[in-house]
């Protein structure tokens, strides 16, 4: 009779027991190519585990709102004129929201971003009025943006004042500067044709379609190249079926949009608004910077875990400075678009609800206020949602005695929408955490 072997307490046996099932297939997930259903399953899993809804809520909102307004006000909302108008309304929100995203990714906030847009616009307008050549005037506006961004970044990163306080103060100061430049409430008209054209002129039909083909071919080409190169190097990659699906959706939606915009929608009015390729171009460049450069990776790292980033040798202060500067430069572009839209700059440019809508846009697109999570497309989609609301509401006019074209109901609806999205996000995250 042999004594029963006592359970061996050492780790070797514990580890050995756990091993065989996995041995030989290590990281197979990383080398085997995925199928379309894998990708969909991964998305659902990420949604369940991480509570990360991605672009889904924003896309759903866009579709639902379109149906809602389309059913209630088919003549005005679905008109070709309104469709063109929609893009020019959305552009400044989208641009500002993209800029704010950089700051939000760090878990910081910039409450002054709206008025810094106003200040840049006012500098541009006043210089143009003083007959300064356009390139010089633009340079001055961007230089001002650089200084404003660097100042906020310095206060936050080097002095250590919370960004909420710093930008609460700049929110007031930039507004003051805007008042000074516009001479206490004056309006500076913009006569410069190029600036006015951004929001008020359209690409010719031919150029519009050419742009469409260039963007579509570029997207499909780059996606394919990426997939093929990763395949060749034996690393897991998005399956071609998903690339094909995304490309098809993009081509169909984009094609319908360009087609609609190419039709006559008023007196001598047709074509894709000039601002549309500008916004798409910015979106591509900034997405690229965030997703494919070390700087972008470091921005996410600082937002995710500042201490870990610091220990990894990342200069946290410099990342903060640069994020505020990039945000400020984007504000400048948003300011120029705003100025172009109104043909003028006044003390309200970049004021009112401009900033809060931009931050709201980034947030309903899925960017976290706690930092570390968010993408540029989120900001653009969020901007499109807010623009759709503010485009559709005034067209509703009076329903049951409530005048939806007035500012009161508009603000209330915007506030409620933001709250709704934030709750959806919080709920999905809590559910994920509980799992």
């Amino acid at each position: 009779m042999t004594a029963p072997v006592p359970p061996d307490p050492t780790m070797t046996s514990a580890a050995a027991r756990a091993e065989p099932t996995l041995a030989g297939q290590d990281f197979s997930v990383d080398t085997e190519s995925l199928t379309g259903s894998d990708v969909i399953r991964n998305y659902l899993q990420r949604f369940q585990r991480g509570g990360d809804l991605g672009l889904f809520p924003a896309l759903l909102a866009l579709s639902l709102l379109t149906v809602l307004f389309g059913v209630l006000r088919p003549e005005s909302f679905l008109s070709k004129f309104n469709f063109g108008n929609y893009f020019t309304q959305a552009a400044p929100i989208c641009v500002l929201a993209m800029g704010v995203t950089f700051v939000l990714l760090l878990g910081e906030i910039d409450l002054g971003a709206g008025y810094s847009a106003g200040v840049c616009a006012a500098i541009l307008a006043s210089r143009l009025k003083a007959d300064v050549p356009l390139p010089v005037a633009l340079l001055m506006a961007f230089a001002a943006a650089l200084v404003m961004g660097a100042l906020v970044g310095f206060m936050v990163a080097k002095i250590g004042v919370p960004s909420f306080i710093v930008t609460l103060s700049t929110f007031l100061s930039w507004q003051g500067i805007l008042l000074l430049i516009t001479r206490d409430g004056g309006t500076i008209k913009i006569e410069n044709k190029a600036i006015v054209a951004i929001e008020n002129k359209n690409l010719s039909v031919g150029v519009g379609w050419t742009m469409f083909v260039v963007f579509a071919a570029g997207y499909i080409g780059f996606s394919l190249l990426r997939v093929l190169s990763r395949r060749r190097q034996n690393v897991a990659t998005t399956p071609l079926s998903i690339v094909a699906l995304k490309s098809a959706v993009l081509v169909i939606v984009g094609g319908i949009a360009v087609h609609q915009l190419s039709a006559k929608r008023g007196n001598n009015l047709r074509g894709v608004p000039i601002v549309v390729p500008l916004v798409i171009g910015l979106m591509i460049i900034l997405s690229f910077v965030l997703g494919r450069t070390a700087w972008g990776r470091h921005l996410y790292a600082v937002g995710g875990n500042t201490e870990a980033a610091r220990r990894a040798g990342i200069n946290v202060a410099r990342m903060k400075m640069s994020a505020f500067i990039v945000g400020s430069l984007m504000s400048c572009i948003a300011g120029i678009v705003l100025a172009s839209r109104l043909n003028s700059v006044d003390p309200q440019t970049g004021g009112n609800d401009t900033l809060l809508i931009a931050i709201g846009a980034a947030v309903i697109g899925g960017t976290s206020l706690f930092g570390g999570r968010g993408r540029i497309v989120n900001a653009v989609l969020g901007g499109l949602v807010f623009a759709l609301i503010n485009n559709g509401l005034p067209l509703l006019k009076k329903i049951h005695g409530i005048d939806f074209s007035a500012a009161g109901p508009k603000f209330i609806v915007n506030g409620l929408i933001l709250l709704l999205f934030a709750s959806i996000d919080a709920t999905s995250r809590r559910r994920a955490a509980a799992n």
Binding site: A15, G24, A308
Partner: protein
């Protein structure tokens, strides 16, 4: 190709575990050698003439009660603190480590107890954080992904299934694994781990200890701070016992008992080894 390598490596690690790893430390150049390290904070002297040697291929456990000075010693090695006096030799050459960067330039990596991982990045992103591989100025994802995978596979890591997984979704043991793998990715020679298993369950602790052993078997020097005697006796080759800032004794793990080490930790001496008149040591 990869899979064959993995099997070979795991064979090696298993045989090594049952045999003594250090044959004769005296004849080789220590990887790290400290002589007479003193460190004071204001009026309080925390380290008193501490000596320590670490050879390549061995795990030295650094034990001692709370406040004995383990973390302070490690921080003096890695340049976060500068010692008041004492000699440092790395690979036999006198060295002056003044900043964490000096330490990492020499090949010393630290795995902090609080891990220092970014939850919102994936395994690859974390392993290469701050030292991303670039191609034409852009992130070279493919190269980083492969290198991350090879490093993990080379360490016989089987618990992390994909290197594209976000760290937020990993268990405590998997996170510790990533943190350790991150430390060895950079041709490091000495890896210091401050209580790597403190928050882990049984199975995950054994995973991490296996990894610690693997590092030493691949020729790295490892310093492991731990309060857990099971861990220490299981994985360490030698045990360095700090008592009130003094190195009470450095004993061979194979020939020492648990009671002996506990005694060294609590009173600074045990059956003829350790500090003389430990009870009268002043801080």
């Amino acid at each position: 190709m990869n899979q064959i390598k993995i099997h070979e490596a795991s064979e090696v690690s298993r045989t090594n575990m049952s045999e003594p790893v250090i044959d004769n430390p005296g004849t080789r150049t220590p990887l790290l050698e400290l002589r007479g390290v003193n460190k004071t904070f204001g009026a309080v002297q925390v380290l008193h003439g501490v000596d320590l040697t670490v050879y390549p291929g061995e795990v030295v456990a650094l034990v001692g009660d709370n406040g004995a000075g383990k973390t302070t010693l490690v921080k003096s090695i890695t340049g976060i603190y500068t010692a008041d006096s004492g000699e440092f030799f790395f690979n036999g050459a006198p060295s002056h480590i003044k900043s964490p960067k000096d330490a990492s330039d020499l090949g010393i990596e630290v795995v902090y107890q609080d891990l220092a991982l970014c939850d919102n990045l994936d395994v690859v992103g974390n392993m290469f954080l701050g030292r991303e591989k670039l191609r034409n100025g852009l992130l070279d994802e493919v190269a980083m992904e492969r290198l991350a995978r090879e490093t993990l596979a080379g360490l016989n890591v089987r618990t992390v299934k994909t290197v594209r997984q976000q760290v937020s979704g990993l268990s405590g043991g998997q996170r510790q694994t990533v943190a350790i793998a991150k430390a060895v990715l950079w041709n490091s020679k000495l890896v210091i781990l401050d209580e790597p298993t403190a928050a882990l369950g049984v199975a995950q602790t054994s995973q991490v200890l296996r990894l610690v052993r693997e590092l030493a078997d691949q020729g790295l020097g490892v310093v492991l701070i731990s309060h857990n005697m099971n861990d220490v006796l299981e994985v360490a080759d030698r045990v360095a016992c700090l008592y009130l800032g003094r190195m009470a004794a450095i004993v061979d793990a194979k020939t020492s008992s648990r009671e002996q080490i506990v005694e060294l930790i609590t009173s600074g001496r045990s059956a003829g080894i350790g500090l003389a008149h430990a009870e009268h040591v002043q801080i």
